[in-house]
């Protein structure tokens, strides 16, 4: 390959944030028509680099070349002008807008022969919808331009993002963690689309931390760690283990070490549970299962199949319509969260910043968020600051929370340490059942490893664990039994060692287990 083949080059990119060197003289390039993986842990600097390429940040040092010519990208507009498109990890879509409105936003008259400058130019909704239909047919991305984005499944929303880039004639596409929210089948579909795009001349930067996917779809791999490029690899000549150690700088255990489980009596019984959403439709319909002491029951399923609502109903955050929930022998159906917590529930919530923490509170207060009213933290109605401080010091030490002190606000901690605060708080009580919903989402490998270990050790102490995760690998690694949810129903419950990954994938996609 010659230099001429490089559609994009970044040389010596450096970016400092207060206290952090996010990119340290990073070199990166992209060849025409290839899929180039950028691999790294959370916080390795991948997103910073991409945000620089896309003009959201401006680099402190370094140069960017498109087709060999140096260019200056200081705003997303510059990037778009140079044919760069980006699909962000958190979709940059406006939920209340239609698909067409989202796509035309910022490029309202692109479909016209001659672009209009006037800010008051009328929106040509029909023409844009037509153009979107054409594009979607061309790339095999089926989509309804008039649908409200917020009402679409995430997989479809991702297509909207891709079309948004293609609509702007992008020939360089940055995909930031695109598979995080998809089913294995949807991921396959995404890969098919990616290959289709490259066949049509689009070059793709694929950011991920999932090793399997990197090996499956990419042409080239670059690995970043703590702001630097630490190496590159050819997917045909490397393996997961090698990539993983490059990523974290040491050998990591990809499999969780655990003994066979030794389950006892039922700690959680769920019987014919029905939960409705705001539109009064069943989102959980007739779910029954139980969790035994000393076992991990994993709930697999694509996001949005009722897992969130199921967990919310079990933990008292959402009313139940019908059915019965028994926790440690107590009927807790429709009880408020406090009653359920007091019955011995620990809950690691799906959205840690929204539910699990009060970001503006110091770490110490977050450590007692749901026990503040109990002895020794409260005596009567007064809070015992000393007891709170002691508890914080103890938990910070025991759970290895990396924080300057117990009094910095939780917002100042990294995602992994925020999660540790929650885990520390929830496991510091005497509990019968742990419900962990997406406990490792967005965390670095080290933290994932830590949390997995905690879950297994809890299990071995005889606590029941209900694990909900969209990561099939996580479910398979930790669970003793696996339940699969599809459209609000549990379609199968099987022993973890008696099922294949492919079989689970099929069930998650709705194929009948019988």
């Amino acid at each position: 390959m010659t230099e001429n083949n490089l559609v994009l080059q970044a040389k010596g990119i450096t970016k400092k944030f207060p206290g952090v060197l996010a990119n340290d003289h990073v070199d990166f390039d992209l060849r025409a028509g290839e899929i180039h993986a950028l691999l790294g842990e959370n916080g390795a600097g991948k997103s910073t680099l991409m945000n620089i390429l896309y003009g959201l940040y401006n680099q402190d040092e370094g140069e960017i070349f498109i087709n060999g010519k140096p260019i200056n990208i200081s705003t997303p507009n510059d990037a778009i002008g140079h044919g760069i498109g980006m699909v962000h990890q958190h979709f940059m879509l406006i939920p209340v807008f239609t698909v067409a409105e989202n796509i035309m936003l910022g490029a309202e008259t692109l479909h016209r022969e001659k672009e209009a400058k006037s800010p008051l130019v009328k929106l040509d909704r029909r023409e844009v919808a037509q153009r979107i239909k054409e594009l979607s047919q061309q790339y095999g991305l089926d989509i309804n331009p008039n649908a409200i984005v917020g009402e679409l499944p995430v997989g479809i929303q991702q297509r909207v993002e891709i079309i948004k880039a293609l609509y702007r004639n992008a020939n360089i596409l940055i995909l930031d963690e695109p598979s995080a929210v998809l089913t294995p089948q949807e991921v396959e579909d995404l890969f098919r689309i990616m290959r289709e795009l490259t066949r049509r001349g689009v070059s793709i930067i694929f950011i991920t931390h999932k090793l399997k996917e990197v090996l499956a779809v990419t042409d080239r791999i670059t690995v970043m760690r703590s702001g630097r490029v630490v190496g590159s690899a050819d997917p045909k000549q490397t393996n997961q283990q090698e990539l993983a150690s490059m990523m974290v700088g040491r050998e990591v255990l990809l499999r969780v070490k655990k003994e066979a489980s030794n389950p006892g009596e039922d700690v959680l019984q769920v019987d014919n549970l029905h939960v409705r959403d705001l539109r009064n439709l069943d989102v959980v319909s007739g779910v029954s299962f139980d969790v035994r002491k000393g076992e991990v029951l994993g709930i697999a399923g694509v996001q949005g199949n009722g897992q969130t609502e199921l967990v919310e109903a079990l933990t008292g955050l959402r009313p139940t319509k019908e059915g019965r929930v028994t926790l440690a022998g107590k009927d807790v159906t429709g009880k408020p969260p406090r009653t359920i917590t007091e019955a011995g529930l620990a809950h690691i919530p799906e959205d840690r910043q929204r539910h699990g923490l009060v970001l503006s509170y110091p770490v110490a207060d977050n450590m007692i968020l749901n026990t503040y009213y109990l002895s020794p933290f409260a005596k009567g109605i007064t809070i015992q600051q000393k007891a709170v401080d002691d508890q914080a010091q103890r938990l910070i030490k025991n759970f290895d929370v990396r924080t300057p002190s117990a009094y910095v606000t939780a917002s100042k901690l990294s995602g992994g340490n925020q999660q540790k605060v929650i885990v520390a708080r929830e496991l510091s009580r005497k509990i019968n059942l742990l419900i962990a919903n997406q406990p490792t989402r967005g965390l670095d490998v080290g933290s994932i490893e830590y949390i997995h270990k905690e879950i297994i050790s809890l299990r071995d102490q005889g606590v029941g664990v209900l694990l909900v995760s969209a990561e099939l690998d996580e479910i398979m690694a930790l669970s003793d039994r696996i339940a699969v949810m599809y459209r609000g129903k549990v379609v199968a419950i099987v022993a973890a060692d008696k099922v294949s990954r492919d079989q689970l994938g099929l069930w998650m996609a709705g194929s009948n287990p019988d």
């Binding site: 940040y57 406006i94 939920p95 929106l123 948004k164």
Partner: protein, 371 residues
């Protein structure tokens, strides 16, 4: 548009009007009562509508604006001051003086809004504080200057209020002639109705502009590039940023447009409704406008109809006082001004309980954008 909401509001207005007609119908033709009440309704609704539109531009772009009251007050003062300067110091005719005043009022509103934008967008100060600063500042500045210019003997006006240019005059819409002509062809006499129709339609320019601006704002917000971008910035600024929209610019621009509209509302008070300025003359209208905006679910037509409810309630109250002697004994509570005075506020609270649907603010309203 939200037809349920609209229908409900129309029903309230109809009920208020009907009660008055039932009471006063004995002494005056219903059509005259209605046209008079419509006149009051429009007069009261005009500054509220403009204030609410001001809020809509700000909040659709993601900036909460509780400073509408201050912007209106300052604009009312400076607009009036400008008009007086033009007519009494430079000797301009009434109309050009008023137009200059109008322009200055809108600029004043825009300037105060720019201060709000500076605080909320650039300094990322909590937006409630920015609005509060503007409200207090406007009271102080207008009160202080009003005194210095029109009372202190040494001032340019010699310590008294000069003969100003008056107010804008009514634009006559000759609908009565058309109706009369039509009725003439049909061989009937409908001159009363014709006059009533003409009285309602013939308004002063700012009142007319307010209605026009409702339509225009609806079009701009929902059918143009500017509106799409404005709403995008108010819903999800980061998404807008990633497609190359300058969030800061859009927010500044919309807040300043909002300020200019609030300024127009202020101009209505001193250049169109009455020809003088009084300290504190906005009397909480900015806050009622804010209520109208929320009541109208952040849409121009919704806010306008809410403003009309406030206007109709006011008309209801005035007319009931005028027809006091005619109120039947069993309805005597309607004679008490204080009881009637609570009506519009109770109605608003009732509506906000969600009986006509939930109010959904722009998702990023009130949140400073950090990259």
């Amino acid at each position: 548009m939200d037809w349920k909401r609209f229908g409900f509001i129309a029903l309230i207005i109809a009920v208020l009007f009907t009660i008055v007609v039932l009471i006063g119908g004995k002494s005056q033709p219903a059509i005259l009562i209605i046209s008079s009440m419509l006149g009051t309704t429009i007069a009261v609704a005009t500054p509220l509508t403009l204030g609410a539109l001001s809020g809509i531009y700000c909040e659709r772009s993601g900036v909460v604006n509780i400073g509408i009251e201050g912007m209106m007050l300052a604009a009312a003062f400076f607009g009036w001051l400008g008009a007086i300067y033009m007519s009494s110091i430079f000797g301009f005719q009434a109309l050009p003086s008023l137009l200059v005043g109008l322009l200055i009022a809108m600029l004043t509103g825009g300037l105060f809004a720019a201060l709000h934008a500076l605080l909320s967008v650039t300094f990322k100060v909590d937006q409630i504080i920015g609005g509060t600063v503007i409200n207090i500042l406007a009271v102080g500045v207008t009160g202080f200057l009003n005194r210095q210019l029109f009372f202190e003997k040494g001032s340019i006006f010699g310590g008294q209020v000069p003969h100003g240019p008056g107010t804008f005059t009514t634009i006559y819409i000759p609908i009565d002639k058309a109706v009369n002509g039509l009725c003439g062809l049909l061989g009937s006499d409908c001159s009363v109705a014709a006059k009533a129709a003409s009285d309602v339609l013939s308004q002063k320019p700012i009142a007319m502009a307010a209605v026009l601006l409702v339509v225009v704002s609806h079009y701009i917000l929902f059918n143009t590039r500017w509106g799409l971008r404005t709403r995008a910035v108010g819903e999800h600024p980061k998404a807008a940023d990633t497609v190359g929209i300058n969030v800061t610019f859009m927010r500044y621009a919309n807040v300043i447009i909002g300020g200019a509209l609030a300024g127009l509302g202020g101009a209505y008070m001193t250049l169109e409704s009455i020809a003088s300025f009084e300290p504190l003359m906005t009397n909480g209208r900015g806050f009622i406008a804010l209520a109208a905006m929320i009541f109208g679910n952040w849409t121009p037509f919704g806010a306008w109809s809410a403003a009309l409810v406030f206007g109709a309630s006011q008309a209801f109250q005035i007319k009931l006082q005028l027809f006091r002697e005619l109120i039947p004994a069993q309805w005597s509570f309607l004679q008490n001004a204080y009881v009637v005075g609570m009506v519009p506020y109770l109605l608003t609270m009732l509506i906000l309980t969600g009986i006509i649907g939930k109010n959904i603010p722009p998702a990023a309203d009130g949140v400073a954008y950090e990259k």
